[in-house]
Symmetry: C2
Subunit: 576 residues, 2 copies
């Protein structure tokens, strides 16, 4: 007889073994790609598939470790049971990847083989991966009345969360299908109460009219509100905070005092609404190559060029445009600045603005499979006039647009994970309800062990993603940048998988547009594309970050061992 706590400890031990092997793999790949001056871009390119797998393994291991850590204090809870189910899923997925990593990099795979045939792994699978275990977890899920993936939140945050959950279910959800199927713009009847509830001020400091306190609570609230609204609708509410979050962070990172004093209170009130114009038709994820030109003119700049996938650009009254203010293309991302473009707000799918100064801005909403309500626009700027006062940081902000934008992007990724969690939760709940109501072969669908197992796995995945999302929110300001990319990667793909299974459990009804789960499915599909497409995130952010870290520690250890480096040798003699 093994207690739940013992299984958690067992699972943690197995994860540690996987993690150790994974670290060896990362170190070996870094070594395979290293040159005296750093990692070789060419060799990294040859190893993209390994790097991609490393990113996924990192995300999954972190999520499982975090989940086990979170549930350890309540080992008999449903959450603990689901965290164990999730861990079995993770280890099962990770093992073949680690095996391949060993094969490719000629690492000793014997510890993996030992692990695979170990009694511990067999015990854990019997406890949380067998059909009996999954059926039990599914039954317990269906019988449970409470929340799953529960995180500790202070009473004040809990209150905000509940307020938005209620608003989501009572106000947003009933309008969501209509907005989606008619491809409408989010109506003022939704936006106005959200403004009044302070949704746009969450990332704005109190001193500037928002509710941000500068503590980790800001991120927790943002995640909780985003999740709650996304559960009701990704497009009609759940994504509203991402844009002000990015712009407010950029303003705080680089804006002049006058800019902060002017814009932050307005943005906090959602007057104007805002949008971020970064992606270009020929440059999706390749920020350093952006070409939209800002030409220097007396007292300001003239913008010429195209942007695309600018979400909410119609309804927005101000756009943050990433533009090239330095004509020297070789500067890459160091030639970019952030310009604020004011324009009239419109619900139209196409618009044209003519400036008195002669500039023209046209926009066209791109019809999409889902994520409707905000619309993503193609934009074209022709000789569009922007005064110096509208460059974030003014003269001293020139060339720093990339950096100002980055802090917001990290927050945006964490928020996107929260969006994914909201969509997953909605799909899971829909599947739970439907399988209880729908009878097949004389019994409710939920009676069958396959249904129970599917629900258990979906719930386990949701729990794993949710716990990591909130944990990321807690630690974001103390260097959670990698975590925000890892959780974005994992939660978005997980939302695809969970909505796919939820739809499948609905049978034909799941494919009908009248059934909410069909919307969750098409909405979820955008998540792995925007806010860092998964390939770019996996390769350029996550794997690159991990490999550089590994390279630096190798380089450090080499230089500390090198007798030529007296300073380092001295350092080596210090106690650790």
């Amino acid at each position: 007889m093994t207690t739940s706590s013992e299984f958690i400890a067992l699972a943690q031990g197995l994860l540690q073994q996987c993690q150790a092997l994974h670290q060896q793999g990362i170190a070996a790949l870094a070594q395979a790609c290293q040159t005296p001056r750093g990692l070789s871009a060419e060799r990294l390119d040859q190893h993209q598939l390994l790097a991609y797998d490393i990113a996924w393994t990192s995300a999954e291991l972190l999520a499982a470790q975090t989940a086990l850590c979170e549930v350890a204090s309540a080992p008999d809870s449903l959450d603990a049971e689901l965290a164990l189910v999730f861990t079995v899923e993770v280890i099962t997925a990770v093992m073949p990847r680690l095996d391949m990593l060993c094969l490719e990099l000629s690492l000793d795979a014997s510890s993996l083989q030992t692990l695979q045939s170990s009694a511990a792994w067999a015990d854990l699978r019997r406890a949380a991966g067998s059909e009996a275990a999954l059926a039990r977890a599914g039954q317990r899920l269906q019988a449970s009345q409470g929340e799953i993936g529960e995180v500790h939140l202070d009473a004040s945050i809990r209150l905000v969360q509940e307020t938005f959950q209620r608003f989501g279910q009572e106000v947003v959800a009933p309008m969501a299908e209509h907005i989606h199927r008619e491809d409408l713009t989010i109506p003022e009847t939704l936006l106005q109460p959200l403004r009044e509830m302070g949704v746009f001020g969450l990332s704005v400091p109190e001193a500037y009219g928002g509710s941000g306190t500068g503590s980790e609570d800001d991120n927790l609230i943002m995640v909780a509100v985003t999740e709650a609204l996304s559960q009701a609708s990704l497009g009609a509410a759940g994504s509203l905070i991402t844009r002000p979050e990015i712009l407010c962070r950029a303003l705080q990172a680089g804006g002049t005092e006058a800019q902060k004093a002017h814009w932050l209170p307005r943005l906090a009130q959602g007057q104007p609404l805002c949008a971020i114009a970064m992606t270009e038709p020929d440059h999706g994820s390749d920020v350093a190559s952006l070409t939209l030109r800002a030409d220097r003119v007396d007292g300001g700049w003239r913008l010429t060029g195209a942007k695309t996938w600018c979400t909410f650009a119609g309804k927005a009254g101000v756009l943050m445009v990433v533009a090239r203010t330095d004509p020297d293309r070789s500067l890459g991302h160091k030639g970019l600045s952030l310009l604020l473009v004011e324009k009239p707000s419109t619900e139209d799918h196409a618009f044209r603005v003519d400036q008195p100064e002669g500039g023209v801005l046209t926009g066209r909403a791109i019809p999409t499979l889902g994520y409707r309500g905000m619309h993503s626009y193609d934009l074209s700027f022709e000789n569009w006039w922007v005064p110096d006062s509208h460059v974030i940081g003014e003269a001293s902000g020139l060339g720093k647009g990339f950096y100002f934008n980055m802090t917001g992007m990290v927050g945006g990724r964490m928020q996107t994970a929260a969006r994914a969690c909201g969509v997953m939760r909605a799909a899971l709940l829909a599947a739970q309800r439907y399988t209880q109501d729908r009878k097949v072969f004389g019994q409710p669908l939920t009676h069958y062990t396959l249904t129970q197992a599917k629900l258990a796995r979906m719930a386990a995945r949701f729990v794993g993603c949710r716990l990591l999302t909130y944990q990321t929110a807690r630690t974001l300001e103390e260097g959670g940048s990698l975590a925000s990319s890892l959780v974005k990667l994992l939660a978005c793909r997980s939302a695809e998988l969970v909505t796919r299974e939820a739809l499948q459990l609905h049978g034909g009804m799941g494919y009908a547009e009248e059934t909410a789960v069909s919307r969750y499915f098409v909405d979820a599909r955008v998540l792995s594309i925007f806010e860092g497409a998964e390939e770019i995130l996996a390769l350029k952010v996550i794997a690159r970050g991990l490999l550089e870290q590994a390279w630096r520690s190798t380089a450090a250890s080499i230089s500390t061992q090198a007798p030529a480096s007296a300073a380092h040798s001295a350092a080596q003699r210090e106690p650790a």
Copy 2:
């Protein structure tokens, strides 16, 4: 240095080892579920997850074995390379399932562990699963001008295939987006040429005005035409043949000579078009519980009840309705008959027909995510009059509806696999083109090894599914019923995976409705739901069939060993 032929032999050997272990698992599960009188339904229900996994493993192993067999004669071809890639994917997916099967059923897993750490498995992965191998396969795919998943077809079949491919690309494809996005009914400008090309007569024997010869060629042609049209559009053309196929097979299986003489020539000409009304709102996959009532009246029947998901019911001039002609519900599927309902053809999304005899039929198209063009209808019959002449088989057809329908369903599954192949091919080609055109970080996407690896895996999956689909068509009439379920299961899920990856490779553009791949993605999602939802197919058809087979062979071997059975003992003494 190992030759391609040797790798194919190596891969076949590994598959055989997996297959042997898999068979042991099936036998052990059958034993765990057996009673003296057969398999225990209750125990089968407890083991649904294992049964589900067994179905997937069966499908994947069969596909890989078939693919290797098909390419063995051209071991240096791109197809052979892709078949090996596919085999690595299959073995990687199958191993953890087999491992779990061993754990659950207390089977000795040592042969699996030996396999996992074998030099053969390492060699095969280096050759066809490593990043270098996948990149090479992807590059070769992108450089290749020819078809992949090539099957041998006679010149006459090839000609038909090419004709429909050309029609698909030149006539259907340009209209597909419009039909999808406007949710239109397939227009006569598409239907009329297809009628003239004989598309509706493919499953009708020559003697009845079709082009069927009664040979395996009929199935090959049907698959080739379905695939070609589905590549252009699943909804606007690729699914047109499924319904006449099911109805014509039912008529041939059970119709009177007069019925065949009346209906087959008309159906062959697509005048009228037809639809199949089987599914009911409360009974999706549970045919034995269907409740739509046919009440006996003088000279015929009165239909009362509802059907749902009746695809093409608006445009159809005749519906094949599965109805309960025997009021004794305990008869289950033995109380069902097939009734032909004539009605006016309409392109409307809602219709109502009032019979002179007082019956009413109403229909409403269910809005769906994709698979548009034919529309699937909710139908309601009120006291609808059907003369005796319209019961398939007339008096002797009563109670045999289930059986008449079954032959068509088996063909329908094979055809659905062909539909999945068409959608996959379209998505793969779109991804191949897009990644060649689209530049990221200064290079076409296809330049990157991750892209190459993704394309190689997508192509490998397509090749695996396609080769099995055509092989199933060749052998369908000699007992390919299980194969048609296996290939339906695998190809449909594969179409989801391939369209997902194809969309992902398009980045944001993939999510735009203006890009064809977004339509492939939502169209593909229906495939695992209709024509046998994957759970039902996996559990009730495939696993059930395999377990019963295993049970019968055990039962046979037990009874042959039993001294009480003199006859069997005698048989046992015969030379094998």
